[in-house]
């Protein structure tokens, strides 16, 4: 319960940040990605502002094994760079460049009642589901159970 309330608070703040910054506006994002056109560098300031705070937070987190609410710190420990990371990043960038929407602003647009954001978000979830199916096939688990991820999600 504590974790859900804290998560709700963080999610709200994250959404407000995206709205204030202009990052929730796909046209503005595309203006940033279009360096060959009239370039709007604003979004570099969004990243800069967020990382400024983030650097402090992660410096504090590094010295702790438990969070301030007593949960274990789940910070990734992997450090190797592999093909998956780069190909996944490139793929994501192509999708980002097509519509100017990344996952966070997509969800914020959905919450603002934008039909186009909703279509993007549903497609994104389908894409994530496709990824899970491919992973499961590759892991060699029973393919007849390959739909379980979907039905389980639908029940939440």
């Amino acid at each position: 319960m504590k974790s859900a309330i804290a998560a709700l608070f963080s999610g709200l703040l994250f959404g407000f940040g995206l709205l204030v910054s202009g990052m929730a506006n796909p046209e503005k994002v595309l203006g940033f990605l279009d360096i060959a056109g009239l370039w709007d560098p604003s979004l570099a300031f969004v990243m800069g502002g967020a990382i400024l705070v983030g650097l402090v937070a992660f410096a504090i987190a590094r010295k702790r094994t438990l969070s301030f609410l007593g949960f274990s710190m789940k910070v990734p420990s992997q450090s190797h760079v592999d093909k998956r990371l780069i190909i996944g990043g490139l793929l994501f960038g192509v999708g980002w460049g097509i519509a100017g929407i990344c996952p966070g602003p997509g969800l914020v647009g959905l919450g603002a009642g934008e039909l186009k954001s909703a279509v993007f978000v549903v497609s994104m979830i389908v894409g994530m589901g496709v990824f899970e199916l491919i992973e499961r096939r590759r892991a060699g688990t029973n393919p007849t159970r390959s739909n379980s991820g979907w039905s389980a999600t639908a029940q939440e």
């Binding site: 859900a4 309330i5 804290a6 709700l8 608070f9 963080s10 999610g11 994250f14 959404g15 407000f16 940040g17 709205l19 204030v20 910054s21 202009g22 796909p26 046209e27 990605l33 056109g37 009239l38 604003s42 300031f45 969004v46 800069g48 502002g49 967020a50 990382i51 400024l52 983030g54 937070a57 969070s67 274990s72 710190m73 910070v75 990734p76 990371l85 780069i86 996944g88 990043g89 793929l91 994501f92 960038g93 192509v94 999708g95 980002w96 097509i98 519509a99 929407i101 990344c102 996952p103 914020v108 919450g111 603002a112 186009k116 279509v119 994104m124 979830i125 389908v126 899970e132 939440e156």
Partner: protein, 145 residues
């Protein structure tokens, strides 16, 4: 030669909004002990495990609820989406697969990963930034859409 779009350049609201995003990621890290990576939080719901569901839904509810709450007080800032439906579907599918395959998006790798000086996240961020710039260049300047 880069030309700046001065009329749409909004450094202050971008910086303030960025700081808010940073505070959100910081509070999630320091309270919940987790990385505020949107694609990971959402994608994790597709293979749910016990005790790992409510905080994900709560975070996403906050993110989706933010504009609704905002609209109760003041008018929402513009959300302009010029892409057509086929492009949105294609973009969504690619973003869904790519973020899961590459273990993160703008928030997880871009904000949190760079903040914790992760070499993996730096590579991922450079990859999606490069692809984003290249895709917009191809669409707007080579295809002229």
């Amino acid at each position: 030669m880069i030309e700046i779009a001065w009329s749409s350049f909004t450094p202050w609201s971008a910086l303030i909004g960025g700081v808010l995003v940073g505070i959100a990621a910081a509070s999630f890290l320091l309270l919940n002990g987790r990385i505020a990576g949107i694609s990971g939080i959402l994608g994790g719901l597709l293979t749910p495990s016990a005790g790992d569901i409510s905080w994900r839904i709560a975070f996403l509810a906050g993110l989706i609820g933010a504009p609704a709450l905002w609209a109760l007080v003041v008018q929402l800032p513009p959300i302009e989406i010029n892409a057509g439906y086929p492009a949105l579907i294609l973009a969504g599918l690619i973003v869904g697969v790519g973020t899961r395959y590459g273990s993160g998006c703008t928030s997880g790798h871009g904000v949190c990963g760079l903040s914790r000086l992760s070499p993996r996240s730096l590579v991922a961020t450079l990859s999606f930034m490069f692809a984003g710039f290249a895709t917009v260049f191809i669409i707007r300047h080579l295809l002229g859409v």
